[in-house]
């Protein structure tokens, strides 16, 4: 009799154990949102042309009523309402990974359409744009200049360097920083010091305190 009872309780315990494991396996699925390209692939994508689009080109297609682009405004709804690119859709930057937004990107992921993302400035748009790019959406561009430039696009002087090409050095930094007297900047200019990569011993196991 004792033998049978022991077996019964063991069986029950084991079954519960199995059930817990199965439930655990079923509920920890793969995360919903996953990167589709590796960091190295992201770097390579960043080096390719076509990631950005000028506000001038966007303005042209808007004026011509050409629906070439699906324009997405990443700003808050409050700012969107105050003024936005005609025909643009408002998806605030902090909501681009919500299910609704992802469904939208998924739906428009065909290679025919091009999504243009913009924010108040290109700085603000570049992060969300790169996150989406790493999720595998490669038909997206970010607009240079942002709303700040677009809103005044008609008054842009074409003879000057476009105000939206911001990653161009606007000054001769070396000349401005040229050491004239004693307490000047003795920093790196031409003639690099060799980069000393600190070689560190690989830290072994962290020392646990105690006896």
């Amino acid at each position: 009799m004792k033998e049978q009872d022991k077996t019964k309780s063991l069986s029950v315990a084991a079954l519960i154990f199995v059930a817990i494991i199965v439930v655990g396996l079923l509920t920890t699925g793969k995360p919903d949102i996953a990167y589709k390209i590796t960091p190295q692939q992201s770097i390579e994508a960043l080096g390719k042309p076509g990631n950005e689009i000028s506000p001038l080109e966007v303005a042209k297609t808007v004026k011509a009523n050409d629906n070439k682009f699906i324009i997405i405004d990443l700003r808050s709804p409050y700012e969107f309402v105050k003024g936005n690119i005609p025909g643009s859709i408002n998806i605030p930057a902090n909501r681009i990974l919500e299910k609704e937004s992802l469904d939208f990107f998924e739906k428009n992921a065909t290679s025919n359409s091009t999504l243009v993302l913009y924010d108040a400035t290109q700085s603000l748009a570049t992060g969300p744009w790169l996150v989406l790019k790493q999720l595998g959406y490669d038909n997206i561009k970010m607009m240079q200049g942002g709303w700040k430039i677009y809103s005044g696009i008609d008054s842009q002087d074409p003879s000057q360097n476009p105000a939206w090409l911001v990653e161009i050095p606007k000054y001769d930094f070396a000349a401005l920083s040229a050491s004239k007297e004693t307490n000047a900047n003795k920093g790196n200019q031409a003639g690099q010091k060799e980069i000393i990569v600190p070689q560190r011993k690989v830290k072994a196991k962290k020392v646990e305190g105690g006896c």
């Binding site: 069986s11 770097i43 960043l46 969300p128 790169l130 996150v131 050491s179 307490n183 900047n185």
Partner: protein, 204 residues
């Protein structure tokens, strides 16, 4: 009863074997897209040119500047103490070794902050910490530190204090001597205004 034992035992063994073959997450440190986006939107990664100037002048040893522009641009000029790692080379082994240093703040910069932000995003995804971006980049550095603008007479006291600080920094970084035109002293009009509660943020 033996049969039950055997069945149970084999089920458990099979489960155990199954667990072994479950894909282990290869990159436990990797930051999820949601977390990355949330950090991007918080904008906590930014350092202003004024803050950076102060730290360089004070000789803060924890600053590690990383210039992510092309080699040709970096050869023309780099900020004091900066290392050039072009964005394209950012994930090479020798580049990533830079981040092994303890107690450092890694501040990416470029001509503006678009490139620096991209560098930040890619390295942050790997789970690296203490990563920052110089807001406005070198163009902003030139406009605030190298060539500070005199505030209009109607601006607040804070603006003047900031200008004084920038003048000092400008001297440090250019070695220019301060020309005081005695005929035109800085006129500060004392207006009675409500004191500004927010500290003036340096920036472009």
């Amino acid at each position: 009863m033996n049969k039950t034992y055997i069945i149970l035992a084999s089920v458990l063994v099979m489960l155990g074997v199954g667990l072994v073959f479950l894909e282990a997450n290869p990159n436990i440190k990797e930051v999820s897209p949601e977390k990355l986006l949330s950090e991007l939107n918080e904008n906590t990664r930014y350092t202003s040119t004024d803050e950076l100037a102060k730290r360089i002048i004070e000789g803060d040893p924890s600053v590690q500047l990383i210039d992510v522009r092309h080699k040709a641009e970096a050869e023309k000029f780099m900020l004091q103490g900066a290392i050039n790692i072009p964005l394209a080379d950012l994930l090479k082994e020798e580049s990533l070794a830079i981040f092994d240093q303890d107690g450092k703040d890694f501040i990416f910069y470029s001509n503006n902050d678009i490139l620096a932000n991209q560098a930040w995003t890619v390295t942050r995804r790997l789970g690296l910490m203490h990563l920052h971006v110089l807001k406005g980049g070198l163009n902003c550095w030139a406009e605030t530190i190298l060539l500070p603008k005199i505030p209009a007479p109607t601006e607040s006291q804070d603006a003047f204090d900031l200008y004084q600080a920038r003048l000092g920094a400008s001297q440090f970084f250019t070695g220019a001597s301060l020309e005081v035109k005695s005929s035109q002293p800085l006129e500060k009009v004392n207006l009675t205004r409500k004191a500004k509660t927010k500290k003036v943020e340096g920036g472009c």
